[in-house]
C-alpha cells in the first residue's frame, strides 16, 4: 500500500545550519513499506520527523528526494490534479489540532471532501455518507452543531468522520490523541482499531504515546530523522 525508499527531506535553511549541531535534514534516508490493512505506529521524540514523514506520504509535502509510492502511484510523478484526487479518494487525514472549520456545522465539516470530488452526483449523496460516518464515531445527534460547541474528544471524532467520508483505503493520523485526555484518547483509539479490523483500513499513526503504539500491529521508531527500529 505504501512504499518509501531512501526518503530524504531537508527543510529550507536546515542544511546551511547543519554545522551548528542542528539536524542537517528532517528525514534522512528513510525506507519502509506498509501492507494493505496494516496498522503502523510511527514513534519517536518530538522533532524526530514523524509529521514530516506523514506529510510526505500524504502528498501534502512535495519537496523531497527518494521514492514514495502510495496505492501503486509514484508520488513524485503525479501532477497536482492526480495527487489531489489521491488525497480526496484514497487518503484520509487526522491531525493533532483537528482543523475543523468553525464557520461550518459538524455535518458540513464532514461533507467537505465531497465538494472537491469529480462528480456533482457524488456530492448530492455525500450527506448520507456523512451522517453514517458521524454515527460511526458516535456523534450522529450533533450534526447541526458548530464545532466550537464540542469537547476536544468530540472534535477529534468529527475530524475522523471527515477523514472517513470517502471511505479511504489509508488513514494518516498525526498524533491524533495528543490533545486529548486519557479516556477520550482511548475512545478515539478504539475507533481506529475498529476501522482497521472491520474495514481493513490501512492505518499509519504518528504518536509518542506508548498506549497507541502498543495497540499497533507494527511500529517504527524515528530518531533525528533516521529509522532506528522497525
Amino acid at each position: 500500500m505504501i512504499r518509501v525508499e531512501h526518503l530524504v527531506k531537508t527543510y529550507p535553511g536546515q542544511a546551511a545550519e547543519a554545522e551548528d549541531g542542528r539536524l542537517p535534514s528532517a528525514l534522512r534516508d528513510v525506507s519502509l513499506s506498509v501492507a494493505r490493512g496494516e496498522f503502523l505506529a510511527v514513534v519517536g521524540r518530538s522533532g524526530s520527523g514523524k509529521t514530516t514523514l506523514l506529510n510526505v506520504v500524504g502528498g501534502l509535502d512535495r519537496a523531497w528526494t527518494g521514492r514514495v509510492e502510495v496505492a501503486g502511484q509514484d508520488l513524485a510523478r503525479l501532477p497536482d490534479r492526480d495527487l489531489s484526487l489521491l488525497r480526496n479518494r484514497t487518503l484520509g487525514f487526522v491531525f493533532q489540532a483537528f482543523h475543523l472549520l468553525p464557520h461550518l456545522t459538524i455535518l458540513e465539516n464532514v461533507t467537505l471532501p465531497a465538494w472537491f470530488g469529480t462528480s456533482d452526483r457524488d456530492r448530492g449523496e455525500a450527506e448520507g455518507r456523512a451522517r453514517e460516518a458521524l454515527e460511526r464515531v458516535g456523534l450522529g445527534n450533533r450534526a447541526s452543531d458548530r464545532p466550537t460547541r464540542l469537547s476536544a474528544g468530540e472534535r477529534q471524532r468529527v475530524a475522523v468522520a471527515r477523514a472517513l467520508l470517502n471511505r479511504p483505503a489509508i488513514l494518516l493520523c498525526d498524533e491524533p490523541t495528543g490533545n486529548l485526555d486519557a479516556s477520550t484518547g482511548a475512545a478515539v483509539l478504539d475507533i481506529f482499531l475498529e476501522l482497521n479490523r472491520r474495514d481493513g483500513t490501512t492505518l499509519v499513526i504518528a504518536t509518542h504515546e506508548p498506549r497507541v503504539s502498543e495497540a499497533a500491529g507494527r511500529r517504527i521508531v524515528l530518531e533525528a530523522g533516521r529509522m532506528v527500529e522497525g
Partner: protein, 593 residues
C-alpha cells in the same frame, strides 16, 4: 472540483467576510456607478439631444461662399434642381431634401385663441421637403400629445373627441403630423418667369404643362387634360381641399375652384364665413354642380390684396421651432404682458394669416405684389426656422415665385443630405465640396458637439477606470489579508482533495461574485442618480421645449459595461491573492498546533 461545486462553495462562503467585502466593494460600486452614469448620460445626450438637433446620418449643405478661383474647378453659384440631382448620385446618399427661404418680407398676425389677443409680427419663413421630417414630426407629436391610440373604446367617431376617429372599436385621436404637406393653390401669372420651376403660365395661371406626358415621381393618377397635368378623379373626395372634380369623360379631373370675395378687404377679415367668399363657376359649368362657397376648411385666397378674385385654398400647414415658444414665454410674454403658453400642444391647430410683401422693417412691395395667405400650426420641429415659420416646400416656392419670379423659386437655400450610414457622411461632405457645397454652420456645430461629447465621455470613462483601478488595489489588500486569515481553511481544502487550480478559482470566484454584486449596486446607484439628476434638471429648466424628460439612456450595453468593468477589476485585484492562496503550504499550516 466541478464548476457547480465551485459556485456552490463560493455562494456559501461569500457572506462570511461581509465586512471586508463591503469595504473592498465600495470602490467597485463607485467605479462602476461612475462609468455607467457617464456612459448613460453621454448616450442619452447623444440620442435625445444631439441626434434630435443634428441627426447623425444627415448633414445640411449650403453653397460655398468662398469660390475656388484658379483651380480649374467650376463652382456653381446656385443650389438648384441640377445640384440636387448631382447630390443624389453620390455614393452612400439616400436622399437630398432642399430648403428654400422666403425671398421677401411678410407680416403675420393671429394667435388670439392662445395668447389672448392678436400678435402682429414681421414674418420670416422657409419651405422644406415634408418627406424629410414626417417620421420625426409623428414621433414628436406622440411625445407632446400622447399616443395616437389613447386606448379608449368607442362605437362612433363622436366618442373620440374633436377630430378623433373611431377605428375598429378603438379611438384614433386627431393627428396633425400627416397634415404637413403642400395643400396646393393657384398662382396667377403673366409669363412663365412668374411661375415656379416645372410650371408654365397658361391662361393667366401657373400650370404643369404636359410636355412629354405627365411623368415624374408623383405621376400616379395624373393625366394630361387639355394640355395641363391634372389629377384624375371620380368624386371630389380624391381631390385636394379647394378643388372639385369637374368636367366630363376624359376631361374629368380635379380643378381648383375659382372664387370671389364681396370686397378685397375681406381678405383681412377673421370671419371664416366671409373668407369663404363665393365660388365662380367656369364658363359652361352645369348649374348646381359646384358648391356656392369655398368648401369647409378652405378660404378664398385672392390673387393680390387689390383683387377680390382668387381660388379656394386650404390654409398652409406650418411648423414652429420649439425655441420660438421658449423665447415667447421667456421674453415676449413678460415684456408685452401676454399670456404664457403652457406647452407645445396648445399651439397645434392655431390659425394665423400672413401678408406677403409687407414689412415693418423695410420698404413694402408694390400693392399688386402683396397677397394674404392663411396658415395653421400643425407641429414642431428642431428643423423649423428658429425665428419664423416653416411650410411645405411647394407652398414656399409658390410664394417666392409669386413675389420674386421663377429664379427665386428655383434656387434653394440649403439641402439636407441623408446617408445610409453615419460613416458615409465625411465622404459625402468631401464629395459635395466638388459641387461647391459645404456643411452649414449648424452641421459643423453638430460635429464639434459630437466630438466634444466623445472627449468628455472618454475623460469620465478614464476617471471611472482610475477609480476601479484604485479599488482593484484595495481588493488586492483585502484579499491578501483574507487569504492569510484563511490559511487553515485553504490547507484543509488541500488536504481533503482541492487542486491548486480549485484554490485559485475559489479566490477568483469570490472576487468575481464581489464584482458582480458591486457592479449591480453600482449600476443601480447610477440609475438612481440619473433619476435624481432628471428631477433636478426638470425643476431647474422648467419645461424647455424639446428638452428630454430623461437625459440618460441605460441600454443593456451600459449595464453590461458597468458590471463587466467591476468584475474585471475585481479579478485583476484578486489575481495576486489567488496565487498566494494556491501557494499556501498545507504541510506547514496543518502541522502547526
Amino acid at each position: 472540483m466541478t464548476p457547480r461545486a465551485q459556485i456552490g462553495l463560493i455562494a456559501r462562503f461569500l457572506g462570511r467576510s461581509r465586512g471586508h467585502f463591503a469595504f473592498a466593494g465600495v470602490g467597485l460600486v463607485v467605479g462602476s456607478a461612475t462609468l455607467a452614469f457617464f456612459l448613460a448620460l453621454s448616450l442619452g445626450i447623444r440620442e435625445r439631444v444631439l441626434n434630435r438637433l443634428y441627426p447623425v446620418n444627415q448633414a445640411e449643405l449650403v453653397v460655398e461662399t468662398v469660390r475656388l478661383f484658379g483651380l480649374g474647378i467650376e463652382v456653381p453659384s446656385r443650389l438648384d434642381e441640377a445640384s440636387l440631382a448631382a447630390l443624389r448620385t453620390l455614393p452612400g446618399v439616400t436622399g437630398a431634401y432642399p430648403k428654400q427661404r422666403s425671398r421677401f418680407q411678410a407680416v403675420l398676425w393671429g394667435g388670439r385663441e392662445v395668447i389672448g389677443r392678436d400678435a402682429r409680427v414681421e414674418a420670416f419663413f422657409d419651405g422644406l421637403d415634408p418627406a424629410l421630417i414626417r417620421e420625426e414630426l409623428r414621433a414628436s407629436e406622440i411625445e407632446v400629445m400622447g399616443p395616437e391610440h389613447p386606448g379608449t373604446a368607442c362605437a362612433v367617431d363622436g366618442d373620440c373627441g374633436s377630430g378623433g376617429r373611431c377605428d375598429a372599436g378603438a379611438c384614433l385621436r386627431r393627428t396633425w403630423w400627416d397634415g404637413f404637406r403642400d395643400p396646393g393653390g393657384r398662382l396667377a401669372c403673366r409669363a412663365d418667369s412668374g411661375c415656379p420651376p416645372d410650371f408654365a403660365c397658361r391662361g393667366g395661371r401657373c400650370v404643369v404643362p404636359c410636355g412629354e406626358g405627365c411623368g415624374g415621381p408623383s405621376a400616379a393618377g395624373v393625366a394630361c387634360v387639355q394640355g395641363e397635368c391634372l389629377r384624375t378623379c371620380a368624386t371630389d373626395a380624391s381631390c385636394d381641399p379647394g378643388e372639385a372634380c369637374q368636367g366630363a369623360g376624359a376631361d374629368r379631373a380635379c380643378r381648383r375652384l375659382s372664387c370671389r370675395l364681396d370686397d378685397p378687404r375681406d381678405a383681412e377679415s377673421d370671419d371664416a364665413e366671409r373668407l369663404r367668399g363665393r365660388v365662380v363657376p367656369p364658363p359652361g359649368a352645369a348649374a348646381g354642380s359646384l358648391p356656392d362657397r369655398c368648401p369647409a376648411g378652405t378660404y378664398c385666397a385672392t390673387d393680390t390684396v387689390l383683387l377680390a378674385t382668387g381660388a379656394c385654398e386650404a390654409p398652409i400647414p406650418v411648423l414652429l421651432s420649439p425655441f420660438l415658444l421658449e423665447i415667447y414665454n421667456r421674453v415676449a410674454a413678460t415684456a408685452l404682458d401676454l399670456r404664457r403658453l403652457s406647452g407645445l400642444e396648445v399651439l397645434v391647430g392655431v390659425p394665423f394669416a400672413m401678408k406677403y410683401g409687407e414689412s415693418y422693417f423695410v420698404e413694402d412691395d408694390s400693392w399688386e405684389r402683396r397677397a394674404i395667405r392663411r396658415c395653421r400650426v400643425v407641429g414642431f420641429s428642431q428643423k423649423a426656422m428658429d425665428f419664423g415659420v416653416t411650410m411645405p416646400l411647394g407652398a414656399a416656392q409658390r410664394a417666392n415665385a409669386m413675389l420674386r419670379g421663377r429664379d427665386a423659386a428655383s434656387e434653394f437655400t440649403s439641402v439636407v443630405v441623408t446617408t445610409a450610414r453615419n460613416e458615409d457622411l465625411p465622404r459625402m461632405i468631401s464629395d459635395a465640396q466638388v459641387l461647391g457645397l459645404v456643411p452649414a454652420p449648424r452641421s459643423e456645430e453638430a460635429r464639434k458637439a459630437a466630438n466634444m461629447l466623445l472627449i468628455l465621455t472618454l475623460v469620465f470613462a478614464l476617471v471611472s477606470l482610475v477609480i476601479l483601478g484604485i479599488s482593484a488595489i484595495n481588493i488586492t489588500h483585502t484579499f491578501l489579508m483574507l487569504v492569510t486569515e484563511r490559511r487553515v481553511e485553504i490547507a484543509v481544502y488541500r488536504a481533503v482533495g482541492a487542486r491548486l487550480l480549485d484554490i485559485r478559482l475559489l479566490v477568483l470566484g469570490e472576487a468575481a461574485a464581489l464584482g458582480v454584486l458591486g457592479g449591480m449596486v453600482g449600476v443601480a446607484v447610477a440609475w438612481t442618480l440619473g433619476r435624481l439628476v432628471n428631477m433636478v434638471a426638470a425643476s431647474l429648466l422648467g419645461r424647455v421645449p424639446g428638452a428630454p424628460a430623461d437625459l440618460f439612456l441605460f441600454t443593456p450595453w451600459v449595464v453590461l459595461a458597468g458590471m463587466a468593468c467591476a468584475v474585471l477589476f475585481a479579478l485583476v485585484g484578486a489575481w495576486v491573492p489567488a496565487g498566494r492562496a494556491a501557494r499556501t503550504d498545507p504541510a506547514t499550516v496543518l502541522s502547526q498546533g
